[in-house]
Symmetry: C2
Subunit: 179 residues, 2 copies
DNA sequence: TATTGTTATACTCTATAACTATA
DNA sequence: TATAGTTATAGAGTATAACAATA
C-alpha cells in the first residue's frame, strides 16, 4: 500500500509503520462516521459538545486544530442534522456555546461503541499482551508530544537537521500551471 | 491540539494517540522535505526511484497509494528539479521507468539521515527501551494490516459494526451551497 | 483596539473522464 | 480490447481576508 524504504531497512522506518496504521484507522473511522457531517471531525465535535461545561466555538476549534471558519461550516451541518445546538453565552454576547442535543448524545454513545469495536479489529493482528502494550506506549508518547507542544519544537529542531544536512534548496515556488 | 475523548477515558483512545503521534510526524516530515516537490510524497517517490530494478510509474503509484494522474504531476516536478528521470522501457514502449539521477541519490541519502534524526527526536519522550518496543510493535501491526489488505477488510467489518449499532442514517448528500 | 463569529473568495489537492500510443 | 501515460475539468477541503457585533 505504501512504499517501504529500502535504503535504511524497514525496521528503522517509523514513518512507514505509523502511516500504515494511521491510514487503516482513518479509513475504518470514515466508514464508522459515515452519515455524520464532517466524518471523524464531526465525531470529535460531538464529543466536545457533550463535555461540561459547554465550550465556545473558538475553544473547540483550537482544541480540534481546525480553523474557526471551518468550525462555522461544520456547525451549520451538525446543527442541521440535529446533533448539536448553538446556545448564546450569557456571559459574553459575542460567543456561542456548543451543546449536544439529546439525539446527539445518543448518537455519540453509539459512535463510541463502534469506535471501541473498530479499535479491537484494527489491533486484531497483535496478541492481546502486545495490544495493551502498544496502546500504552502510544498514549504515553502522545501525551509527551502533546505536552511538549511539538509543533514549534519539532519544526525548529528540524530546521537544525536541515541545516546540518545542508541540502541545496530546490523550492517549487511557482504554482502548478493551469492546463 | 486534538480533543481527547472524555466519555470513555483517554486510556482507551487509540485514535487520539495515533493521531497526535502521526500528526507530529507529518509536521516534522513536512519541514524535512521542504524543497522536495510534493514533500513527503516526493521523498517516497525518490526512494522508489533508487530501487532496483527500476519500476514503472503505475507500479510506484500503486505502491505509494496515489493516483496515476497525480504521479504524472509529481514526476513532472521531480524531473524538473533534477531528482529523477523518466526512461523508456525497452520491453514495453507504453511504459516509462523511473530512475533517480545522481543528484537525486545524493539528496535521498541526506533525507534518510534527516529522517533518522527526526525519528529520534519524535521518540525522545520515551525511554530507550520503550522506543524500541514501540517501533517493533508498530512495525508488526503495520505488517499485519498491510498483509490483510485492511482496506476492504476493515470496511466490511465496519459495515457490520454500523449495522450492529444501528444508528439512524443522516446523510449529507447535497454539496455545500456556494456562498 | 481586540475578539467572536460569519461570509466571500481563492487556492490546493484529489478524483473523474477523455484522449494518445502502444500492446 | 486492454493498458500506460497524459491532459482537462470538476469537486472537496482549506486558508485568507473583509465584515458586523460586541467586549
Amino acid at each position: 500500500m505504501v512504499a517501504s524504504r529500502t535504503g535504511s531497512g524497514v525496521e528503522e522506518d517509523l514513518g512507514w509503520a505509523l502511516g500504515v496504521v494511521f491510514r487503516s484507522y482513518v479509513r475504518a473511522s470514515a466508514a464508522v462516521t459515515d452519515g455524520i457531517p464532517g466524518g471523524h471531525r464531526g465525531y470529535q465535535l460531538l464529543t466536545a459538545a457533550c463535555g461540561t461545561p459547554p465550550a465556545t466555538q473558538t475553544a473547540i476549534a483550537s482544541r480540534l486544530g481546525i480553523d474557526r471558519t471551518v468550525m462555522t461550516y461544520l456547525l451549520d451541518d451538525m446543527e442541521h442534522a440535529g446533533l448539536v445546538r448553538r446556545r448564546p453565552d450569557p456571559a459574553d454576547r459575542r460567543t456561542r456555546l456548543v451543546v449536544a442535543t439529546p439525539s446527539g448524545r445518543r448518537r455519540l454513545a453509539r459512535l463510541d461503541d463502534a469506535f471501541h469495536t473498530l479499535e479491537t479489529r484494527i489491533l486484531a493482528g497483535l496478541p492481546a499482551a502486545d495490544r495493551t502494550a502498544l496502546k500504552s506506549l502510544l498514549r504515553r508518547l502522545a501525551t509527551a508530544l502533546d505536552a511538549a507542544d511539538p509543533v514549534a519544537d519539532t519544526c525548529t529542531a528540524v530546521a537544525d537537521i536541515a541545516a546540518a544536512t545542508a541540502a541545496p534548496v530546490t523550492r517549487r515556488t511557482s504554482p502548478r500551471p493551469t492546463r
